[in-house]
């Protein structure tokens, strides 16, 4: 018990919260970027543009079938030596998460659009709307409603997945708690409890938010 009291000193808690801030910051930026990129890629894949859609589809499939850990390594070590782009830990983590989650989201978005029946598109087109107009005003709003729950659970995954970036020493929640229990191994269990609690709070709030949002949309 004494371990718990000592472990949750103000200094340690502040260090953990600093880590959590990095987790949230990196996740938030990646969420926004991957949503935009994922939406564009999903649309292109849905529209079946000759060659382009197939190539993008293939890239998406490759990324979706690789472990995120590997993508993180590649962004941190591989990009610089292959393309001469040098990233620090924060950018490398953001880029890796964005690349991975964009591919996941693109699939969700393509599936969501596809689930709206083709008849609607035809009806809209025959009423004089252009393809893009029909997409923007008729198809996307409906598809979006169906997509909210899977998209948000993908965002929750993103927050959790950001913990993998400890491998490149991103100063996020997991890494900071490892630093604390690395210096005093008596704090190991308290740190695990704190870490699990903090991740849980962020992810749980996010998923509750999505449920509320889904209810309002319907």
């Amino acid at each position: 018990m004494q371990n718990f009291i000592d472990a949750y000193s103000w200094i340690n808690l502040r260090f953990l919260l600093e880590g959590m801030w990095v987790t949230i910051y990196v996740s938030a930026i990646s969420v926004v970027l991957s949503f935009i990129i994922g939406a564009v890629l999903g649309l292109i894949r849905y529209m079946k543009i000759k060659y382009l859609s197939a190539v993008i589809g293939l890239i998406i499939d490759i990324i979706r079938n690789l472990p995120l850990l590997l993508i993180i390594f590649f962004m941190y070590f591989g990009l610089p030596s292959t393309f001469g782009i040098r990233l620090n830990t924060v950018t490398a983590a953001i880029v890796a998460l964005t690349v991975f989650e964009s591919a996941m989201l693109a699939e969700i978005i393509r599936g969501g659009i596809q689930s709206i029946s083709g008849g609607q598109m035809e009806a809209a087109r025959s009423n004089g709307l252009t393809y893009l107009q029909a997409m923007w005003y008729i198809i996307l709003p409906q598809a979006f409603r169906n997509m909210v729950p899977p998209i948000v659970s993908q965002f929750v995954s993103l927050v959790k997945d950001s913990s993998l970036a400890t491998i490149i020493l991103l100063p996020e929640l997991m890494y900071h708690s490892q630093i604390i229990y690395g210096q005093n191994t008596n704090y190991m269990i308290p740190m695990f409890v704190a870490m699990a609690f903090l991740y849980f709070v962020v992810c749980f709030l996010l998923s509750q938010l999505s449920k509320a949002l889904a209810r309002r949309l319907n």
Partner: protein, 277 residues
């Protein structure tokens, strides 16, 4: 119909592999190697890769977030000698797995990260003169039957750190023991404490840092290799390397080096003073 689908399926499976192979052939060269001396003079900034989880050498201070340790102090002293008092010195935490790629990719200008000078590494990067002489040792819980590296016989497990020279050495000194490699010293020690292995092996200085944290563990059997630590810089940075060596000589002569050794190692019980350069 069915048959065609399957055929298509197979094609789709092969294609990505093919494309990936194509991508790979394009890989290869490193970041353009600029002269560190010149860039640093212009920006008045230098970035070092240091350990962030090793007491005595480079440890993140939980209160301030800064990394402190012997190697950090040496890096500051060397930077000041080369670039003057006002140089801005940045520190990037690295571990044994990430340090070489980060140096080669140019994320850091130099490495001072408990790195032994080895023939294999010399093929990849250049090393300065030795700034610290460590030796590999093993650490066990007090009361353990293992008294030296010779006791690591078959059926024992020894924990090491990925990318460190010591995991290569231990295979020679204790070939029968199973080696488990974790990503850094903190994780390795945590794994040892929870009984994942019978002993942990790395350089003595690092182990003494850990035992000063937790006296229920101790270093046994003395060191069985010599691990001379050097500052790592990229190949083709001859000017920078010469400047580092000159700076190291200077701080040794003016007593600053000894002051730092005393600051970090004088209170470590069991640490042999003669181990230090």
């Amino acid at each position: 119909m069915q048959h065609m689908r399957l055929k298509q399926l197979r094609l789709w499976c092969l294609l990505p592999l093919f494309i990936l192979t194509l991508m790979l052939t394009a890989c290869g060269q490193h970041v353009g190697e600029k002269d560190v001396m010149q860039t640093e003079r212009e920006t008045n900034e230098i970035t070092w890769g240091v350990k962030g989880d090793m007491r005595l050498f480079g440890l993140t201070d939980i209160e301030t977030g800064e990394i402190r340790g012997f190697e950090v102090d040496i890096a500051k002293a060397v930077s000041k000698e080369i670039f003057g008092k006002n140089v801005k010195v940045n520190f990037v935490p690295v571990n044994s797995n990430t340090r070489l790629p980060l140096l080669k990719n140019g994320n850091v200008d130099a490495l001072i990260a408990t790195m032994s000078i080895t023939a294999d590494r010399k093929k990849e990067i250049d090393f300065s003169d030795v700034y610290f002489n460590a030796g590999q040792a093993i650490m066990v819980k007090k009361g353990s039957k293992i008294k030296s590296v010779k006791d690591l016989t078959s059926g024992t497990k020894v924990i090491g750190i990925q990318g460190s020279n010591s995991v290569l050495n231990i295979k020679k000194y204790a070939p029968k023991s199973e080696v488990l490699q974790l990503s850094d010293a903190a994780q390795a020690f945590a794994a040892l404490k929870s009984g994942q292995g019978d002993a942990m092996t790395t350089d003595n200085g690092i182990l003494y840092g850990l035992t000063s944290d937790d006296p229920s563990y101790h270093v046994v059997g003395g060191s069985f290799t010599t691990e001379p630590y050097g500052i790592g810089v990229n190949k083709g940075q001859k000017k920078f390397l010469t400047a580092i060596n000159k700076a190291l000589k200077k701080i040794e002569k003016n007593g600053e080096y000894q002051k730092l050794v005393d600051k970090w190692f004088s209170q470590i019980s069991g640490f042999d003073g003669s181990v230090v350069k």
